[in-house]
Symmetry: C2
């Protein structure tokens, strides 16, 4: 039910219940109501996607995104007991995030459960009463060591401070794993369609996944079987919510071919490692000669513009083989021929994670994407400077992509390439 939509006291959807409501039906020990956008975790109610007690479920789908399929395999193989409940001892977040005012604005966050990291604390009573409630967010700390950061140290672009960045190139981070939790009425609004349309299309265009999408309009929350996000924070996570602290941020969409394997057809890894370098430089402590800001990388699992890698490779072949070769003026056309669209990443949901972190201002956005910029500013977050990828980090074969994107509206501090210019940069042909 929609936040604040109910009116009579003690009705299941009432946003301010005075006691723990362990049932949504009088007389039954059943599903707890979810009041999306309520002010506290208690009022909002837990997200219950358990597969053990069907009567407790108050969502469509289940936890762990697409890894629920592996969980099923574990049960099929006899390795996992169906009734296993997670022992959450010692798993609590290493850093407290929020709560922030954005959490109770049902328009600001529609694809994350803001209370998803603190279920053990917030829903202790329900857990004790037998509800199988699982975290959809997890916060931990890590040391990350990238060869590119070590190089930046060696070349003097970065200096070790012994606190955020060690002399051997390890950077201290707080990181957060984020599973998607979709409030369907809110997601529909973002995409400019009705909730009924969204539900029907999600069902039909996946070949019939989760009939509850169309049969159970009372269930308004969906745990889609897709990849989530990972957030890396350099500096104090609390500072993200303070617009007076300089925030350097990149929102990066997964590209396995470049991020992991260093393929030279795009700028993904170089831009990502440049952003990490910028984040470290921004967040180094003032008393060690740093700027005392905070850095953020939000990494979304949207391989190949969320078209998946098979489509991505098909497009590569079509680009390289077309008459005239791989040129920027045909860059988007080839994707559209194969996939039907230029891009399926839909940045509409992306700002949610920024609001979850309390962000109101990004001083330095390390991205040239107009789609990301528009989504972020359109959601009410101020953006200062935009930081492009330095020219020397663009692989020769990725020039085609870069020119095409700048002509299509990507931010560039230089001249936007014209129609003639777009024919010039040519990618390597297939052997």
């Amino acid at each position: 039910m929609t936040a604040g939509s109910s009116s009579t006291p003690d009705s299941p959807g009432h946003p301010h219940p005075r006691h723990i409501r362990l049932t949504s039906h009088s007389g039954g020990f059943g599903a707890l109501p979810i009041v999306w956008g309520a002010e506290t975790a208690r009022e909002r109610g837990p997200v219950v996607g358990t597969t053990t007690s069907r009567a407790h479920r108050n969502v469509i789908g289940t936890h762990s995104g697409s890894y629920s399929v592996y969980r099923a395999l574990a049960v099929a193989a006899g390795a996992l007991k169906r009734e296993h409940k997670a022992d959450l001892t010692n798993t609590a977040p290493t850093n407290t995030i929020g709560p922030y005012p954005q959490w109770s604005d049902p328009a600001k966050i529609v694809s994350i459960d803001p209370w998803g990291a603190e279920v053990a604390r917030e829903y202790e009573a329900e857990l004790a009463a037998g509800y199988d409630i699982r975290p959809t967010l997890a916060v931990t700390q890590a040391h990350v060591m990238l060869p590119e950061v070590i190089e930046a140290l060696q070349k003097g672009r970065l200096k070790a401070d012994g606190q955020l960045l060690t002399a051997n190139g390890a950077a201290m981070v707080t990181k957060v794993a984020v599973e998607p939790v979709w409030y369907l009425p809110g997601v529909a609004k973002r995409f400019g369609c009705t909730e009924a349309e969204l539900r029907r299309v999600l069902f039909e265009e996946t070949g019939g996944m989760y009939p509850e999408l169309v049969t159970r309009s009372d269930l308004e929350v969906f745990l889609p079987p897709i990849g989530g996000q990972t957030v890396y924070i350099f500096g104090n996570p609390r500072d993200l919510a303070d617009p007076n602290v300089e925030l350097t941020a990149r929102v990066h969409d997964e590209c396995n071919g470049s991020d992991v394997f260093g393929s030279d057809i795009c700028t993904c890894r170089p831009y990502l490692t440049h952003a990490i370098e910028e984040c470290i430089a921004a967040a180094q402590p003032k008393d060690k000669g740093g700027r005392g800001g905070v850095g953020l990388v939000a990494y979304s699992r949207k391989e190949g513009r969320a078209l998946g890698e098979v489509t991505k490779f098909l497009v590569y072949n079509a680009r390289k083989r077309q008459v005239g070769g791989d040129t920027a003026d045909q860059y988007f056309a080839r994707t559209e021929c194969v996939a039907g669209v230029q891009d399926m990443r839909f940045q509409e949901l992306m700002p949610d994670v920024l609001h979850w972190l309390g962000i109101r201002k990004i001083h330095r956005l390390v991205s040239m994407s107009n789609m990301k910029y528009d989504a972020i500013t359109g959601s009410g977050i101020e953006v200062g400077e935009r930081i492009n990828i330095p020219d020397e980090l663009i692989p020769a074969d990725a020039r085609v992509e870069m020119d095409a994107k700048m002509a299509a509206g990507y931010f560039t501090p230089g001249a936007v390439p014209d129609a003639d210019e777009l024919k010039k940069a040519k990618g390597r042909a297939l052997k």
Copy 2:
């Protein structure tokens, strides 16, 4: 229907039809039969997961793994026409893989469509007749540049040959994107359960995904909404199938935290880049002073032992905070408390991609995992040497994982740590 299970000529399941069968029902223009493990693509029949013509569908689920959800969003947003069919012009594989005898052994491959890369060629008639048939495999070529390979060149561990490896550190690869296509009777056999059990569990433990799993036993193929695999081949892909050509291979399971961000709690990226270095060294051409072998990295999207990243981070916290700190003797116990199992990667399906590539012998397996080794050799592929990760590449904080795994049966050329030894290596505590 099972390959070879039918007997009367011209029945839908007959393995050697003499004409293109555009219907599985006499008199109807409907779904084409799939004869899993048939000898040719024509006899096997195409996998049709279209969402446009429901009558044509012969599988459960749809294409692009979990990205089908994004496809649905594209339709909801009005950006993609429902009826769009992929224009496959110029998308054909850059290199021909197979066919190999393994393709028609229904026990060897149960989770990949071996004909999935060549649908435009093999099912030209069906495509012309209006069937929406999409590739589930895509083969392309790329140049990959890793900082670790550049370092290997600088330190003299690798030498440029100007052909497979350039002086600036670019390595030439053929790469393949692989989407999962599950033949349910075969998958059930791998997991030692009945097909009916597998179907019921896949339905129930995902919270009710695809009721067809339990209602449509005539549909034997499932396109699960999970991540697939990417294969990187160094050298000539044809050589993979020749047991006389030295093959160096790693099967690597995704770990975003290390593979991309260089987290020091595990050995994932260092082991992967070491494997790539080994693959390049093995595959450099003989006439340039190389060994003239072939290299392979098969990368599977199984984040955090296929438990997903939220669970992974919860386990990190539990390990770091437990009484006595993060030690190898408690390494697996912490995962089991949270997840119910130590590991959900289930290597049972992993060898399929090796059989698809025609592999019969891996001379040098760059992996210490006994689960991977057992799965590969158990599927009939010979393994020669096993290559461990060099000690100097193991981050200090990852010593806990390494010791725990060796004690649990991982391959090690040295001594297996005993109970006392397992208490020694201690991971960094949380701040």
